[in-house]
Subunit: 231 residues, 2 copies
């Protein structure tokens, strides 16, 4: 299965923006929640900062490398499915022809019209394969050079997002006060991020802003509560 | 843009399996790395366990709720794009007809054949809209009831994955020894998980197993190293 989210034509941003959204979305949320959780049990901010930075490093690598391999694997998956289609078209053309006809009939074409289309496709095997990739499988050709850019964008966005909730702990020595500033800063950042994300993804920006802040807030509250409960 | 990964027809698993993969993939990796990082600075396992559980709670909520909202937003996105297409077909049918013809011409059909297809589509506006959704936008109709199941599956898989690296810290009181067992257990779990994932996604299982273990190992090593460096 393709492991990267499928981006379609009406999307007003680019794949670059999508990678920033993927990285920053988790980067703002998970280190925020973890820092809140650790601040609930640690008296000094040192453990919050160290734990938070360790998490950012781990998350950035896991997400960045994960994105790299997902993009690579999408490209391989596309190539292998294309080979399958080519093989099927060469070995069982009658069955593949019938698949195309069935598809076209389901869109209201008549038998004679479907046959005209399939005859045209049969004359151009490469176009036929492309047609099957798109129509039967719903797959689009991935850009093979995207993997590295994608990995770096996701990883760096995760780091940028993760430093927002940690910054107050670096500037304020008392964990309790730092937590309050971290919550305020991060909720504002999540709100703005959710708003901008909504504009790019075509969702209602205000609702996207509120949802993004809500997820981050709930995750942080749960982490804080659980840590308090255990310690 | 659709925020859930696009699953196509040749995928041998289901969306349920995909959600397990999404949750467990991060669940095995991030708490593992964080626990390794925390064990590098804490003498007792208490801080590792508390921090780890806080992270699991935060991650499960962030990913589960994120998955819920992504599925909801995909459904809304599909509905809104479908309304756009309907509007375009009703208001500028000539332009939409030409778009279909251009698409078909690019697959090697001749003008006269394309016209037959577009004429057939024009007689059935609903089928025409479906055709545009699939062909022009590459969108598939999402299941509106999936959001809740998806959220729970992702969240619970994250928790299940996250408890693997933490278990040794709960059973062994010395952080250093617990780390060794955590690394062994989790790398084995990542290897098996990567293998099974590869079987389901059509990737080469052994390669998927090695890659998954590598990402987890690198993330944990980075977190451990960074934590040691700071403290």
């Amino acid at each position: 299965m393709p492991q990267t989210p499928h981006v379609e034509q009406h999307f007003t941003g680019s794949e670059f923006i999508r990678d920033i959204v993927i990285g920053m979305s988790d980067g703002l949320t998970v280190p925020f929640a973890l820092a809140a959780g650790l601040s609930g049990i640690a008296n000094s901010t040192a453990i919050v900062i160290t734990g938070g930075l360790a998490e950012i490093a781990a998350g950035a690598i896991a997400m960045g490398l994960g994105g790299y391999l997902a993009a690579k694997s999408d490209a391989e998956h596309y190539a292998s499915e294309r080979e399958n289609e080519r093989y099927e078209i060469e070995t069982i053309p009658a069955k593949e022809t019938e698949e195309v006809e069935q598809l076209l009939l389901s869109y209201g074409l008549e038998k004679a019209q479907s046959t005209l289309v399939t005859n045209a496709l049969r004359k151009r095997p490469e176009a036929w394969i492309d047609f099957m990739m798109r129509f039967e499988l719903g797959l689009e050709k991935p850009d093979p050079k995207r993997a590295l850019t994608s990995a770096l964008t996701i990883g760096l966005s995760y780091i940028a997002g993760g430093l927002v909730p940690l910054a107050p702990y670096m500037l304020i020595s008392k964990a309790g006060s730092a937590l309050i500033f971290s919550v305020i800063f991060t909720l504002v950042a999540l709100f703005i991020f959710g708003y901008v994300k909504g504009r790019f993804t075509g969702a209602r920006p205000l609702r996207s802003a509120l949802q993004t802040a809500l997820i981050g807030g709930l995750a942080a509250a749960a982490a804080f509560g659980l840590a308090k409960l255990i310690s």
